[in-house]
Symmetry: C2
Subunit: 295 residues, 2 copies
């Protein structure tokens, strides 16, 4: 395994433990809700967003354990968004991470509630003193996640995505969709490391530039996998975007054009990182991983 | 109008303005999401929870404008919960506040997203410096709302409520359901005033006791209205609990027994307030309003 693969695997294991500690144990009258929250969050995923918090935090000497706690909060939001996106009223996805999607394993109502409770839990975790001794930093973390997750971020992107089934999007609109739907949370994950490390403004700006490139590249690779990937490797339904007539960068540029765009984004992302010293090699490797992964 | 009626109406108007300022204006590619968020939140409701923040804050000299901002955040969570509860997968309610429910006016997917984005907005508002100059207080507000809204609060209560359609609940289980589903957010609204006012521990404890009585009383009155109320006044579908075979205090004790319980709760709530000086008369009047209201 490469150094990055080892670091990703180690991180994924630590995040799993962190999430396991944060999530309520299935108990009492609302045990079904607890079980659905755990099902939706544990046992899978690359934990890329938490890794980004750790990797960007490492640039500013943030202890990995501290970054992982914030990373786990980001993962709670990411997991809730998958549960809601998979609902019949949304993308109607049958499988996720190689297993039945949450609403199929439980039911629609339980899946809606589990998503809602996961979102609340993410903010609870961030606001707790254990996240960082300085409450001003905790508030900044809460505010940033709320913006990234809300109408100006992830939810807004999903809204555009749903409407994209009914109308043809221009390239500009597709880019906005992806900037919000996937980009906002990935951008926050990178920014969170800088918030925890009280990074100087120019480093934050560079990191935001890197994150924007990464977010788009990550989404393009996702769309490529939807067209050319292997369902056994991705663990989810494939060919759904095309079937739904959804506008994606891949649909607009074709697979070759999309791959050329990935190369441009890589050059741009590397450029942003040049201004930052320290452990930036990890973020470069994450980028390369994001555009070469098979799941 | 009584003094309380005037105070409630004045407060409702101020909260409407506050929410209007907080909510995104319908614009851009995700305009439909913005419109659904506004539809779900503006133009209705007694704004009882925000009023509780103001009334409990007044006991500790919290400026009404400051309390209203926090109250509006609570109302965002309350509004999101109504949108999700009304979904076909949940209570399948056709009307709310005398208008089509959010998913009927828009569609299920938009309603799910609007609820999600409203929850994120509530935390964004609380974490912002405009809420209180002390970030430690803002973190306490975020943490408290997250607990009240999540698996140990509102979402947990809704889970028990959904399962109550399939099994007979004991009185103890019904009380737990209501303590979580309605009580947690009402309790937080009272507690938030104390957090903003840095109230001493014994005053907080008394306020928690009052809020627990109020939350249950409020729910019992809701259930009484579901059985004996006027749909034109309540603005929502009635008789739904009975039709769904849901266990409520009213179903278990009958309307007369439920009214006797309301009188006991009133005596208990008044008792809790005796220990607190200042403007406690407002909280007494809110209690009387909660158990005599017709909508």
């Amino acid at each position: 395994m490469t150094t990055l693969a080892v670091a990703l695997a180690t991180n994924a294991e630590a995040i799993e433990l962190e999430l396991d500690r944060m999530l309520p144990v299935a108990d009492g009258s609302q045990a079904r809700l607890h079980a659905a929250m755990r099902y939706a969050t544990l046992g899978g995923g690359k934990r890329l967003r938490p890794f980004l918090v750790v990797a960007s935090g490492a640039l500013f000497d943030v202890p990995a354990a501290q970054a992982r706690r914030v990373g786990a909060a980001v993962e709670l939001v990411h997991s809730y968004s998958l549960v809601h996106d998979d609902l019949p009223a949304m993308d109607d996805a049958l499988t996720r991470r190689g297993r039945p999607s949450c609403h199929r394993r439980f039911d629609d109502a339980t899946a809606i509630l589990a998503g809602d409770a996961l979102q609340a839990l993410a903010f609870e975790v961030l606001a707790e003193p254990a996240t960082h001794p300085d409450p001003a930093i905790r508030c900044e973390l809460v505010q940033g996640l709320a913006v990234a997750a809300g109408a100006a971020g992830m939810c807004g992107g999903q809204m555009i995505d749903l409407e994209a089934e009914q109308r043809r999007l221009t390239m500009e609109q597709v880019l906005e969709l992806q900037r919000l739907k996937t980009g906002a949370l990935i951008g926050y994950a990178c920014e969170a490391g800088a918030i925890l490390g009280a990074a100087p403004p120019d480093a934050r700006k560079a990191l935001r530039g890197y994150a924007a490139d990464l977010g788009l590249a990550f989404q393009i690779q996702d769309d490529l996998l939807d067209v050319t990937g292997d369902a056994a490797l991705t663990g989810k339904d494939l060919g759904r975007d095309e079937a739904a007539g959804k506008a994606t960068v891949v649909a607009l540029l074709g697979p070759e054009g999309a791959r050329a765009r990935l190369a441009e984004l890589r050059a741009s992302a590397y450029g942003h990182l040049r201004g930052i010293g320290g452990e930036a090699h990890l973020l470069r490797e994450v980028f390369d991983f994001a555009i070469s992964r098979l799941n």
